[in-house]
């Protein structure tokens, strides 16, 4: 039994411990706030072998003596701003002095920025750091209260100094009593006033820069240092003379009040990938996003930031640009070092203005949308970005030069602005992929200022590309740690299902389905087989069909390190040449993989289906199975089609297939969509070189559909079951219907170009009208329309059933009222949760308490949803990279002339957006010469004087032939796909 005590509070410390005050809410209501605090003497200091505390300890009792300024040993005690602005330094593996992290500091970081707080908490737990969290606000000697007239900041600073002083006196006295030989507790702060006060109180204090300069890895660490602080790094130019390029943000209170009153609008800033001078913000008040045109109006917002926007008068509304404006070519002459000087700046701005003006002429009034400007930032969502150093911005490229240079880093993502940074390593970083973070973006600077975090490796080397891709999409890819691997069965690869007996825990409440003729059907080379199927005729004329899913939740127990890691990863990420597993591979590719001829634990869904595929009955059970075969889709297809095969396995496949056809017909009749996304497959010629030799469109067979139908059926059946049992916390998946306005443009294009209509009133209507979008001369046209329609839709998401209203459960694409993910627990975490809930709903195991908590389930699913999106994007980016490599190889074989057919999917004033079917990639064809552009009819016309023959008109949906080249960007050393038209006209000189 736990020890229950009453925390007694002495009358005298009531001043410190009780707070009663009144505060006024935004709505003018007065609220009485009551808080009390219990002060204690058992808050441990974290120093090893501390006699006074007797608590756990991780800080060495003698401190760290490697720093020359503190040779008698020291601890650092950073203030809040150090973590807010120098987190990269704190995270660097070269920086690991014993560190005291105060509760005051931790709380302040939490209030200022949750992402930084989460990084800080992860940091405090890292094995290679020595950070102790000291709860100073609860310890009687170090707790303080705010004094009259004291600002919260001053109060915290005083608290931090008090804790510093307490630590200094609390340190164990060494054998020599002389204070000069004592280790020092060093207050790390960039606030000069605070340092002065600390020194006056007899404490050791240092600025971050001075502290780092004394370290042995100073050169590398100083680069990581953020360029702020009162030490004024190099006040070279006359700062005061700088005029502001951007308008200042409104005060936070004004912004919040404006948003509340509806005068301002709040939303995520989305940069435009085609035009760096344009962005948009989706807000609830308008059906169309608010358009932001030009640098001044975007006012230093970076993609992903939450901004406050002021909307202009309707007479000033504009239509989005139909021109491609590329940051690199427009700004290529901008100098990083001088970009803030006036003369130069105006020239560049002039160019930008011209770019903006030129496309303003012919914007159709019908397409006008709310237009406005950013007046405040509600939340920055800056992270580390993968960049290249822009060669042209270097004043010297001599590798021996160690002088500090100001250079441009160009992010890989087209959505981000160039970042200015100062570094001494610029020449060494050329041709490398590097990680850069943005520190600030003052109103006087055209570009954001940032600092270098670390190098990832040579650009275009597979390792660097792979790592940068994982970083860019925030995929956790570190190998599994020891604590995680310790959660695996001790037998390791040798684990087997124990012989059947009542005593074996594996067999408890498990059905013995080893006798069933079960097989799996997967893509070739599949190692993580998480599903298998069977079907057999029942005596009553009905059919028994079963889906057997690897019983992952038997191995992954709730709340252990392996489970937490899987929850944080959310999903397995598939890159072309690498798989980043969600679970250790022992489970994924062995113990949980339903290999043939091996007994495996499974979670089975077994239906009794009528010959018309109506569900008569469904049951769920944990089971032991022994798969009889592992087929590829092709093998299964061949077997099914071979009339001579009459064995039980083949019969089973035929039975499943006949049911699947009916299930599919039923779904289609209910209005399910047959969507398309460009799927290509990369063939790697050998595992060592991993150079692709071919890119091939994925082919779908009947057996693909067979597996798919049964997985859908299993997911739906499970969803119903867990929703019935746990109406508040069931883990479900939904796909919201898209807003109708999303389709407007596509509908207009189809109508004008093809005379076709798209009925978007329901998913069924959409499915039917998509079926009618057929061009008899062009079989691929239908797929193209489907791809474009898919892009108009929202993405599906996981959700907790108690968190949204019941009528929004539906899955639009699948046209089913309820859905979940159950069938791939090896590679998706949501499935693991669904398994646990299903197991609890059949009373196989009690549900872990966390799965009863709505807020917990919501939190986990938020992460899983985000990981899921990121994983998809990372996978696509990986395919693109390999398509690029394949094209480069082919270009070399074919003397630089790779030609492919492509469809026009969008027209711009100065270019075309095309989709190359065979390669599954999109590209831009740009025209430098003046061409005619018809906005309303989605056409561009290349006049006769340019073609040399007659006018050539190209419209959306037209089929063209493009030349594809891989061009090395001179500045960034990165390979770029460049497309030009070959047919109907040769555009290489246009």
């Amino acid at each position: 039994m736990v020890d229950i005590t009453i925390k007694k509070r002495s009358q005298t410390d009531a001043v410190v411990t009780q707070r009663k005050f009144f505060k006024k809410t935004a709505r003018g209501k007065v609220i009485k706030v009551l808080r009390e605090r219990y002060l204690r003497d058992d808050v441990p200091c974290g120093i090893q072998d501390c006699q006074a505390c007797q608590g756990p300890g991780m800080l060495p009792s003698a401190g760290e003596s490697a720093h020359p300024s503190f040779s008698t040993g020291h601890f650092v005690l950073p203030d809040t701003n150090v973590f807010l602005s120098q987190m990269d330094l704190m995270e660097s593996n070269l920086f690991s002095p014993p560190t005291i992290l105060l509760q005051t500091v931790l709380d302040e970081v939490r209030h200022r920025s949750l992402p930084l707080y989460n990084r800080l908490k992860a940091l405090a737990k890292a094995d290679d750091k020595r950070i102790w969290i000291f709860y100073n606000e609860y310890r009687s000697e170090t707790a303080i209260i705010r004094e009259e007239g004291e600002t919260p900041n001053d109060r915290n600073d005083r608290g931090i100094r008090k804790a510093t002083s307490w630590y200094q006196s609390h340190l164990p006295r060494g054998r020599s009593a002389s204070p000069s030989h004592q280790p020092k507790v060093v207050l790390l702060t960039d606030d000069a006033a605070n340092r002065r006060k600390a020194e006056a109180e007899g404490l050791a204090a240092s600025s971050v820069r001075r502290y780092v300069e004394g370290m042995k890895d100073a050169t590398q660490l100083l680069d990581v240092l953020v360029s702020v602080g009162d030490d004024a790094i190099e006040p070279t130019r006359a700062v005061a003379a700088r005029s502001a390029l951007y308008s200042e943000y409104l005060p936070t209170a004004t912004v919040l009040a404006g948003v509340k009153s509806g005068q301002l609008h709040q939303g995520h800033f989305n940069a435009n990938a085609y035009n760096y001078l344009e962005g948009s913000v989706n807000v609830p008040a308008f059906a169309k996003p608010i358009l932001l045109v030009g640098r001044e109006n975007m006012n230093r917002a970076v993609n992903g930031d939450v901004v406050a926007v002021e909307v202009f008068d309707e007479t000033e509304w504009k239509a989005p640009a139909d021109e491609v404006i590329d940051q690199e070519s427009t700004l290529k002459n901008d100098d990083a070092e001088d970009s803030e000087e006036e003369g130069e700046g105006e020239e560049v701005l002039g160019q930008e203005k011209k770019a903006l003006r030129s496309d303003e002429k012919a914007r159709p009034p019908s397409e006008k949308q709310p237009t406005g400007r950013v007046v405040g930032i509600i939340k920055r969502n800056w992270r580390a970005y993968v960049c290249h150093i822009d060669t042209a911005s270097l004043s010297t490229t001599l590798p021996t030069s160690l002088s500090q240079q100001t250079v441009f880093a160009t992010p890989v993502s087209r959505l981000l602005p160039r970042i200015r940074l100062r570094t001494r390593q610029a020449p060494q970083l050329l041709a490398q992929k590097i990680l850069v973070t943005i520190d600030r973006w003052p109103a006087t600077a055209r570009y954001p200022e940032g600092h270098f975090v670390r190098a990832l490796g040579r650009a275009e080397s597979k390792d660097a590309e792979q790592e940068s891709l994982l970083l860019e999409f925030d995929v956790p890819y570190r190998p599994f740690g020891r604590a995680i691997l310790a959660c695996l069965p001790v037998e390791g690869e040798g684990w087997v299902v124990p012989p059947k007996s009542a005593a074996a825990p594996e067999w408890r409440d498990r059905e013995d389905l080893r006798g069933l003729t079960i097989c799996s059907i997967d893509p070739p080379g599949c190692q993580d087989i998480d599903d298998a199927l069977h079907a057999r005729q029942l005596p009553n004329g009905n059919i028994e069909a079963g889906v057997h899913i690897a019983d992952v939740s038997h191995f992954v127990l709730p709340d252990n390190p392996m489970d937490s890691e899987a929850a944080a990863r959310g999903t397995t990420v598939y890159l072309v040449d690498k798989r980043i597993d969600m679970l250790p591979s022992l489970l994924g590719t062995n113990l949980c993989s339903l290999r043939p001829h091996v007994e495996r634990l499974a979670f089975s869904v077994i239906w009794e289906l009528s010959p018309d595929a109506e569900i008569v009955n469904v049951r769920f059970t944990k089971s032991v199975i022994a798969s009889k075969a592992a087929f590829t889709y092709d093998e299964a297809q061949l077997r099914k089609d071979d009339v001579h095969m009459r064995d039980e396995l083949t019969q089973s496949i035929r039975l499943l297939n006949s049911l699947a056809i009916k299930l599919k017909a039923g779904r289609m009749a209910a209005g399910a969509l047959n969507l398309a996304s460009p799927e290509v497959k990369i063939h790697l010629d050998s595992s060592e070189s991993s150079d692709p030799i071919e890119v091939e469109q994925k082919e779908l067979r009947e057996t693909n559909s067979l597996v798919e139908e049964f997985m859908l059926l299993a997911n739906i059946s499970v969803a119903k079951k867990i929703q019935d049992t746990f109406p508040q916390t069931a883990v479900l998946r939904r796909h919201l219907p898209p807003p109708r306005t999303n389709f407007e443009k596509l509908q207009d294009i189809l109508k004008k170009r093809k005379g076709m209509t798209l009925d978007v009133s329901s998913s069924g209507a959409l499915a039917a009208s998509l079926d009618k979008c057929i061009d008899p001369k062009e079989p691929a046209f239908n797929t193209l329309v489907r791809i474009m329609a898919t892009r108009c839709m929202l993405s599906a998401e996981y959700f907790c059933s108690g968190s949204v209203s019941r009528d929004t459960f539906g899955h639009y694409g699948l046209a089913t009222p309820i859905y979940t993910h159950f069938t791939s627990p090896i590679r998706r975490y949501a499935d693991v949760l669904a398994h646990r809930q299903l197991a609890a709903s059949i009373a196989h195991a009690p549900l872990h308490p966390s799965l009863h908590s709505k807020s917990h389930v919501e939190r986990v699913l938020d992460v899983v949803n985000r990981r899921h999106r990121m994983a998809q994007m990372a996978g696509r980016a990986s395919v693109e990279f390999y398509v690029g490599l394949a094209l480069k190889a082919r270009g070399e074989r074919e003397q630089g002339l790779v030609q492919e057919e492509a469809f026009v999917i969008r027209t711009f004033r100065n270019g075309l957006n095309v989709f190359v079917f065979k390669l599954g990639i999109e590209g831009l064809v740009m025209f430098k010469r003046e061409i005619k552009f018809d906005v309303d009819n989605y056409t561009v016309t290349i006049p006769a004087e340019l073609t040399g023959k007659s006018d050539a008109t190209i419209a959306v949906f037209d089929k063209v032939t493009v030349n594809i080249e891989i061009e090395k960007d001179k500045n960034t050393q990165r390979g770029k796909v460049k497309m030009t038209l070959a047919k109907p006209v040769d555009s290489r000189n246009l």
Binding site: I4, I6, K7, R9, Y38, V43, Y135, Y138, P849
Partner: protein, 269 residues
Amino acid sequence: MASRIEILNDGGFRSDGRKQYELRDISFDLSPQSSADGSASVSHGLTQVVVSVFGPREAKMRRETIHDRANINVEVNVAPFSAGERRRRGRGDKRILEFGSIIKSTFEPVIQTSLYPRSQIDIYVQILQQDGGVLQACVNATTLALASAGIPLLDFVCAVTGGVHSTSPLLDLTTLEENDVPHVTVAVMPRTGKVTLVTMETRLHVDRFEEIFRLACEAGKVLHKEMRAAVRERTGVLVAAIGAAPRGTSAGMDAGDRDVVMDERIDDY
């Protein structure tokens, strides 16, 4: 902003510096209102209530008279500024009526009402300040007020609130915690181990419930020790007062007499 306060941090501390199983500071004052037959003021942390007991006395209303036992009448009054938001609650307020009936049903099986047929016991509950655990404070104060009025009880009734944050149980919740975690109030009779009250306003899974329930019962025993000591101390003071200066007011004498009687009983609680 509330979401930015951690209910239970990595160091194992709650937002007010307590650990999971630590109850807030408690104080008892056993005779704040001399006009009543018995009264007690109780605070748990910043939550503060006063309960006054009148009776047993002759029932005023005929129709409320019960021929074989005493009728218990509970009235609850909430001070307008006791909680965060200023709100005047009338006597007819549904929540207040409910509160009163919870207290009534908690004590009905504990008070030996059959000793006083056709009479009435009035319990006036005043909630002065609310910072979580209001019901527990009301129940504990009522126990003490009844004891100081000398009304025979089968046992003490000791109440504690318990909640669960994610998977960690917490005892004696503040308002901040009550707003965030599912919680229950449990009242136990420590001598017999019987439970006279369980209320739950939020959903809580049955496994979690069992754990918290057990903990709350244990915590009830801890409270019991404190409450018993407070009653003893009060009795001691009164006895001394009688001995040293037998000029006490008649009301004081009365209370003193009863308390002495009570004392014999209380000891074996």
